[in-house]
Amino acid sequence: MTTGDCLLAVGLLSLALAGLVWCATGPVGERVVVSDGQKVLYTAPLDTFIEVDLEGPLGLTRLRIDEQGARIIGSPCPLKVCMGMGPARRDGDILACLPNQILVEVVGARAEDAPYDLLSR
């Protein structure tokens, strides 16, 4: 085996080990996807600390992503139901402001030990 072969083998072995770790680490890469129900308006990783204004027909809905998850902290809608929904952090969690047509979804790998599949509210 030449020095080049050795370097290639070590490189590939490192990649294979990294891949194994990646496979075993479970629900990583969760993202927040915002749409108007049809087309995607905005997307960001769930582990990003950010506040963003999302434009709907009524005006700007303010979305905050922090250590608690994603939640709506400002809205031009009359009843502010969306602001009372609390944080979304699990895969499949949904926040929605129907009057302003803003749909916020958390997507990513699902943890098998999650306490529930869906929330009745």
Partner: protein
């Protein structure tokens, strides 16, 4: 180099296989969310044939859209809008007639705690509009004129109004009916495992892999927290709570579940969760039980075989029906 090549190829194959495996979506599963019926509709379905699964979910959403057009009071050409506008009677689509039939049955059996003729009252409070407000006592009394279980009569596909000014609101049962129909469409396409969730009113078809679906029940006073959970398979789960839609005026909270007797938001409960074999029935019963309160609500429920409920009273106490605990998983950590 020649001797080490197989080793390198094996490593390369390992890297590629690992990457491919990690990037695969969950096999045979599709999840889609749309804004319909004034809420979020989420369908999660499984089928080994991806094309067939996609067709099934699209057909289920089409069915919900079709029913929305029939029963949306904001659409001038819907059955509900035309029924509110008509003075005497109207022939409606079979689906609308079925919803009215089911709603009238729950209205009669609940002594009017559930009511399909609250359109005027709801418009007066304006909870679906941009300027909700507490109406005057005289306005409320006027809006309650002529309502009740006998306000509508169904003869075949013809609906007769006892009072020309009655405004019809099928919201308490139409959403559930649409979910039931979507589940039926999924079944017609060969789907045996699915969840159709209309803003928390849902039907769980089959199982989630090798176990039943597990459904968290929203805590009525802790936003984002789960009160308890149930395991469900071929079952409707519907929750109605005073935290869903409300406004505050002069330091007091007014929500969207009205007592037809008083014309004001009912205050006997914080939330009600109903388990039944149809979402339409669970939807109507959840509203009726919320208005009736724990004691009278559980009395009404005893007339419905196979239906269970968890009623959270106004003081926060939990009132489960006799068979509720059979749906609660043994490791449930809720209160």
């Amino acid at each position: 180099m020649l001797r080490s090549r197989p080793f390198i190829l094996v490593l390369l194959a390992l890297v590629l296989a690992g990457t491919w495996w990690r990037l695969q979506p969950e096999p045979g599963q599709l999840r889609e969310v749309r804004l319909l019926l004034g809420t979020t509709i989420e369908i999660v379905a499984e089928h080994p044939d991806a094309d067939r699964l996609e067709d099934a979910v699209a057909a289920a959403f089409d069915e919900i859209q079709r029913l929305e057009w029939l029963m949306d009071p904001q659409r001038p050409d819907s059955d509900v809008a035309r029924l509110s506008a008509t003075e005497k009677s109207l022939k409606v689509a079979p689906e609308t007639a079925r919803v009215v039939e089911l709603g009238l049955d729950v209205a009669r059996r609940s002594d009017g705690a559930f009511d399909l003729s609250l359109g005027r009252l709801k418009a007066l409070w304006g909870l679906d509009g941009s300027t909700p407000q507490v109406p005057g006592a005289q306005e409320i009394a006027a809006a309650l004129q002529g309502i009740g279980p006998e306000a509508l009569q169904l003869e075949g596909l013809e609906i007769l109004k006892s009072d020309p000014g009655l405004s019809i609101d099928l919201g308490g049962v139409a959403k559930g009916f649409a979910v039931d129909r979507a589940v039926a469409v999924l079944g017609e396409h060969g789907v045996t495992s699915a969840a159709v969730n209309a803003g928390g009113d849902m039907y769980l078809l089959g199982s989630r892999g090798k176990r039943p679906w597990r459904i968290g029940i929203q805590h009525p006073r802790k936003s984002g927290a789960v009160l308890t959970s149930v395991e469900a398979s071929n079952l409707a789960v519907v929750t109605s709570g005073d935290y869903e839609r409300f406004f505050e005026q002069d330091g007091r909270r007014y929500h969207h579940l009205f007592d037809p007797q008083s014309g004001y938001p009912a205050d006997a409960c914080q939330s009600v969760t109903v388990l039944a074999d149809s979402v339409a029935l669970a939807d109507a019963l959840a509203t009726a039980l919320f208005v009736l309160g724990p004691e009278r609500g559980l009395e009404l429920l005893s007339a419905y075989a196979g239906v269970e409920a968890l009623i959270i009273a106004g003081d926060g106490r939990m009132h489960p029906s006799s068979g509720w605990k059979t749906f609660v998983p043994s490791d449930d950590s809720g209160s």
